[in-house]
């Protein structure tokens, strides 16, 4: 058995503010295997980005505070690294792409320069080799006439092209882990389809693992092997993609699946999740989804459910029996 690439054990990320302490990530544990694509879905504000930023050690402390029982990447204890060592990990081993490519691209440097600098620093390539590799990378992500585009600046590219450049930079050092946070959300569906195909092929080629954060259940269904569902700073359900989609075992997951409009289904009325997500600065003693849950049982009002393995590899923290509400699949 090979060990997992990433182990996250009891991750807690909080922010101090005048309104009290916001528990953005409240005891998150999961592992990521080599070559695996893991989806991270959940309500807006549920802690998906903060989970990723905590792993990357990108949370400013203070006002933030990141604690974990274990945060291990490829045998390295990430919590024990100095900021300098972490910088190297971030540049060469764990790559991250965001919704807004301008957040990762430097607007005043040419695209070629941004690529070659990374390559020279982390792969110790000389100028000519870095240039050749930069052209290869841009071609790989489908930038036409890559050679003549090296001198272009990010603003000279369209949104889809910028996203491609960002992917080229992210993958330039053959990272073992790619974290994509709403990486295609700002793109049109036709361009999104191109980018998703591209990421799928590239990560397979270099054997990287992926954490794919998205609010789009369809994309996750397409891309991921497993999925973690988050609500109010916790993982409420986790399992193989088909299990979670066809046999959702937490009230929130079921609610999420049934409130999502689907292009393949004809106009039945949507079943929204009523109410609003909880205030994360208030202490929670019961299931945080209880006030909005359509399936709660008596036990939900007396104790908080733990995340347990209900079926092999399929975990959920929910007392309700949801089997009667599963969509009939053929």
């Amino acid at each position: 058995m090979t060990s997992p690439l990433l182990t996250v054990n009891n991750l807690r990320t909080s922010f101090r503010s005048d309104r009290g302490t916001v528990r953005a990530v409240d005891g998150v544990s999961f592992t990521l295997n080599r070559g695996e694509i893991l989806g991270l879905v959940g309500e807006s504000g549920s802690g998906k980005s903060m989970t990723a930023m905590s792993i990357m050690r990108l949370i400013p402390e203070p006002p933030g505070s990141v604690e974990a029982d274990e945060l291990r990447f490829d045998g390295i204890d990430l919590l024990a690294l100095s900021e300098r060592q972490m910088l190297d990990v971030r540049a060469a081993r764990i790559a991250m792409i965001f919704q807004d490519p301008m957040r990762s691209l430097n607007p005043v440097l040419s695209v070629g320069r941004q690529l070659t600098e990374t390559l020279r620093r982390h792969l110790a390539l000389d100028g000519a080799a870095a240039r050749r590799r930069a052209i290869e990378l841009l071609e790989m992500v489908g930038i036409p006439m890559a050679k003549s585009r090296l001198g272009a600046y990010p603003h000279e590219f369209s949104g889809g092209m910028r996203q491609r450049v960002m992917i080229a930079i992210a993958l330039s050092c053959n990272p073992s882990l790619l974290i994509a946070d709403e990486a295609t959300t700002a793109l049109d569906v036709t361009v999104q389809a191109q980018i998703v195909d591209l990421i799928k092929t590239l990560v397979k080629d270099i054997g990287a693992s992926v954490i794919w954060i998205s609010h789009d259940l369809g994309l996750v269904a397409n891309l991921c092997d497993r999925v973690n569902v988050m609500y109010a700073g916790r993982i409420v359900e986790s399992g193989p993609i088909r299990d979670v989609f066809y046999r959702p075992s937490h009230g929130y997951t079921l609610g999420l699946m049934s409130c999502t409009p689907r292009i393949d289904l004809v106009g039945e009325r949507l079943r929204p999740i009523e109410g609003l997500p909880p205030d994360l600065s208030r202490p929670m003693t019961l299931c945080p989804f209880l006030p909005r849950c359509a399936h709660s049982v008596d036990r939900c009002r007396t104790e908080r459910p733990a995340l347990i393995e209900e079926q092999p590899a399929h975990w959920a923290s929910c007392f309700a029996d949801l089997t009667g509400s599963w969509r009939q699949t053929t």
């Binding site: 397409n222 106009g267 929204p272």
Partner: protein, 331 residues
Amino acid sequence: MTSPLLQVENLCVSFPGTGGARVRAVDGVSFTIERGKTLGLVGESGCGKSTTGYSLLQLIKPTSGRVIVDGIDIASLSRREMRPYRRRLQIIFQDAAASLDPRMSVGDLIGEALDIHGLARGTARLPRIRKLLDLVGIPARLLQRFPHELSGGQAQRVAICRALAVEPMLIVCDEPVSALDVSIQAQIINLMQDLQKELGLAYLFISHDLSVVRHISDRIAVMYLGRIVETADKHEIFGSAAHPYTKALLSAVPVPDPDMERTRERIVLRGDLPSPANPPSGCRFRTRCPVPIDDCAQIDPPWKTLSETHHAACIRIQGIPETSLFEGVRY
């Protein structure tokens, strides 16, 4: 036969672009909206959806074309003559919180909408405000709140409420749920459907999300680079799309079903949307079309009729067998 509520004929809007070229953001768009019905307007970013919506309300003056409301062409009216129509045609935006005056409370925001058009004065005012807020599901305790103290969904409810306050016939909805979490999206979509039924409202529902559009629309118009390329009743678009762009668009929408996602055939388009300042000759879609022929560069495709309610602008349509979206999209 009664005339439709809104009839748009050959609408063109252009903006000054760089180097003297005009950006033809909307270039000869025609459609109608019936009373109490929803037309969904879909297409990629920059294709001209918002510009179309704004020019209906004369928020942007059309360069040419007619916008006929109840038999009157409002594109030719003066500001004063336009006033009664302003009340009848309302708009809501994607970023509801930003479209609301941050210094006004929820109650004042609704009250102001009433005042502008001299509705519900004196003692009738507060009960009317309460009734309107109740209609959109805003509890009375939020009456004194300010926009920044509202959640995204609540802010969108207030924006809808402001639009409703003046008793419009048509609301242009520009990506009204795109910024909201799905759980809140569904609340707002249901609300909009209920209000439509109750008040007989018509919507022009602009969105890039085809799953949402499928849910809420009666008819759908697909836009590409300033033009409508296909228009039909909802079931025709989703059941038997004819234009290659519509087919590609539909096939690219992810479906939250792992087995279906992994077996579905997809049409992956090449490249990005060309610039509206310099659109391709002939058919504008030909540079990304999976099935172009030489003629496509020469001929500006005329409308082909597929049924009384289904039209598409593509010279290749006869050669394309009609297939249903989920029976595989093939040519």
